[in-house]
């Protein structure tokens, strides 16, 4: 085996150097031409070449006898120096270079390419603004067409119920619904306490202690509990949908599904949408109860309103309409969260970074849309005088 055994990382080796040789037509290289000291070596070469202010004519000898080690970076520097000299008009020739270094230099010379051209200049502000606006519009249209495609897939599924993946729906019910019980319950309980606590002071001042039930009941059941549940689920499950589908896109699993003849919408999107449409109203009902419970605890502690008094009053305070409005918003929110999460997952373009980006976007977008739609509901209900 003919293998060079130069210890390229030995500490005792002198760094690379280059200097004018004995005659004006000679350069002397020495030391270890390694990546480790490439920055200094580059500076030495510049300094040395600077002396050839006038281009040298004819042949220039580069004595490389004292070169003790070389790696590709060192070879590159030597090659670049030779090229610079030759564009100056002379021919440069290495003498005394060890055969293995000679081979390396040849390898580098034959594989030389110019570094890729610089990337396109950064566009101006107006261009970027226009581009962002256009992309935003495309995104909205994309989401809309995704909604359409999912609806069609759902219709197909309803025609042939055997196509619906019940097992997957059950799994999603478990992960998005049952597993969310502790956190949604705790948060709405705390929210009930906070509202009751804030209201208690005002109500006591006017001696209207009993109206605590109206305050807590109505605000929780009609507005806050659907909203907070939707926001928590968007953060918990919407992001998980985006990350799962996004990663499956990166690993080409989505393409594989298509190839096998399973619609990604049927397998990945519909079960999630259906499961969430079932789970979110149930979760909202649960958070209604937990929120009111929090208010009851606070009412007894702060306002001496007993549990039975509170519940009696609740019956008058919260109409069936209010309750149904609160619960009725939940399926709409569920569709928004599941579709935005899945849609953003499908927007992933192959890099790990874009999985993160689309996951973030999915949460931000679905929370934004949930609050927007909630506001639209309020306006619509006030028109309808509900």
């Amino acid at each position: 085996m003919n293998v060079p055994t130069t210890p390229r990382h030995a500490i005792t080796q002198a760094a690379a150097d280059i200097r004018p040789g004995a005659t004006p037509r000679e350069l002397r290289c020495e030391g270890a031409w390694l990546l480790r000291s490439a920055a200094q070596t580059e500076a030495r070469i510049e300094a040395c070449l600077g002396r050839f202010a006038q281009p040298v004519e004819g042949e220039l000898l580069i004595d490389a006898q004292a070169v003790t080690a070389m790696d590709t970076s060192g070879a590159w520097l030597l090659h670049r120096m030779r090229r610079a000299l030759e564009t100056g008009g002379c021919t440069a020739r290495f003498i005394g270079l060890r055969p293995e270094f000679e081979a390396l230099l040849r390898l580098v010379a034959t594989r030389t390419t110019e570094p890729a051209v610089a990337p396109a200049p950064v566009p101006g502000m107006l261009v970027r603004f226009g581009r962002n606006a256009w992309e935003g519009l495309l995104g909205a249209l994309g989401l809309l067409s995704f909604l359409g495609a999912s609806a069609t897939a759902l219709m197909r599924g309803l025609m042939q119920p055997r196509r619906i993946r019940w097992r997957s729906i059950l799994y999603n019910l478990q992960s998005a619904g049952v597993a969310a019980l502790p956190i949604t319950g705790l948060l709405s309980f705390l929210l009930g306490i906070v509202i009751a606590y804030q209201g208690a002071e005002q109500l006591r001042r006017v001696g209207a202690n009993i109206y605590i039930a109206d305050l807590v009941g109505l605000s929780m059941v009609r507005e806050l509990s659907p909203l907070i549940t939707a926001i928590i689920v968007a953060g918990r499950s919407g992001s998980a949908y985006a990350a799962q589908i996004g990663t499956m896109k990166v690993t080409e699993e989505v393409d594989a599904l298509r190839t096998i003849g399973i619609g990604p919408l049927d397998l990945l999107v519909l079960p999630k949408v259906i499961a969430l449409v079932i789970a979110l109203p149930l979760l909202t009902l649960y958070t209604d109860i937990m929120g009111v419970l929090g208010g009851m605890v606070m009412a007894r502690a702060q306002l001496d309103v007993g549990f039975s008094t509170f519940i009696d009053r609740l019956d008058d305070a919260v109409s069936l309409t209010s309750f149904l409005i609160g619960i009725g918003k939940a399926p709409v929110f569920a569709v928004i969260i599941a579709l935005v999460g899945c849609y953003q997952g499908f927007q992933v373009d192959g890099s790990a970074e874009s999985v993160g980006r689309q996951t973030t976007t999915s949460v931000v977008q679905s929370i934004f849309l949930v609050i927007l739609v909630d506001a639209l509901f309020s306006i619509a209900f006030s028109w309808l005088k509900l």
Binding site: M1, N2, V3, P4, T5, T6, P7, R8, H9, A10, I11, T12, Q13, L34, L35, R36, A38, A39, E42, D71, T72, S73, W76, R80, E100, A103, L104, L107, V108, R111, T112, T113, E114, P115, A116, V117, P119, V250, D349, G350, S351, A352, E353, S354
Partner: protein
Amino acid sequence: MNAAAATIPDNIVEVSDLNTRFGAAVVHRDVSLSVRRGEIFALVGGSGCGKSTMLREIILLQPPVSGSIRVFGQEVLGLSDEQALPLRRRWGMMFERGALFSSLTVTENVAMVLREHTRLGTKLIAEIAALKIALTGLPADAGAKYPSELSGGMRKRAALARALALDPELLFLDEPTAGLDPLSAAGIDELVHQLRDALGITIMMVTHDLDLLWRAADRIAVLGEERILGKGTMQELARSEHPVIREYFYGPRGRGAREQAWNRK
């Protein structure tokens, strides 16, 4: 050889009495092997016999149950990330599926390593990155592309370019030719040889590619049944009586590669 060379032992990698278990499944039982300086060493064996696992243990990605692994004469087991850094700069690893950073272009993937570990100017880094990319046989315009825009074979070359970024003394290749067309695979054989001859790199690879074994490997160890079934040159192993090794080298594909290698000689 000068005095400094004496500090680097002849065995660049030395694995002794290595034991690996995943739960109840034993992967390696008292496995020992060594890789000498400047050689191209190949680890072969059936799927799931722990070849890649051993590679991962050597480069400190995964701890074995017991045993000793010395790289450049230094015990690596039990080193912290910080202690391992000087060693990690001296070896390069090419992962089976490339493991390129998907949010960076190929050039940025290579340049990132250089920027992290050297203090070179931007221009020189760009030049060296372009050189490494060219060395692996990629076209110049591949540098500006993202990994997701490359074919599998090109991704592999780009991964090799990144592994070579710091001019390592020791190069680990995990399945360097898997998923490549025969022409690209032959290019990798040639490249592995050129790197060894020109740079004196020691190469340790895991491979299934019998052509690559015949053409590039100096010594081979066959891993199976939790231990080393045989090691030596391709010719020595071809004479082995062990049934698994015979099956491996004299199976239909093994015979073809062997005949081809003979015809070439």
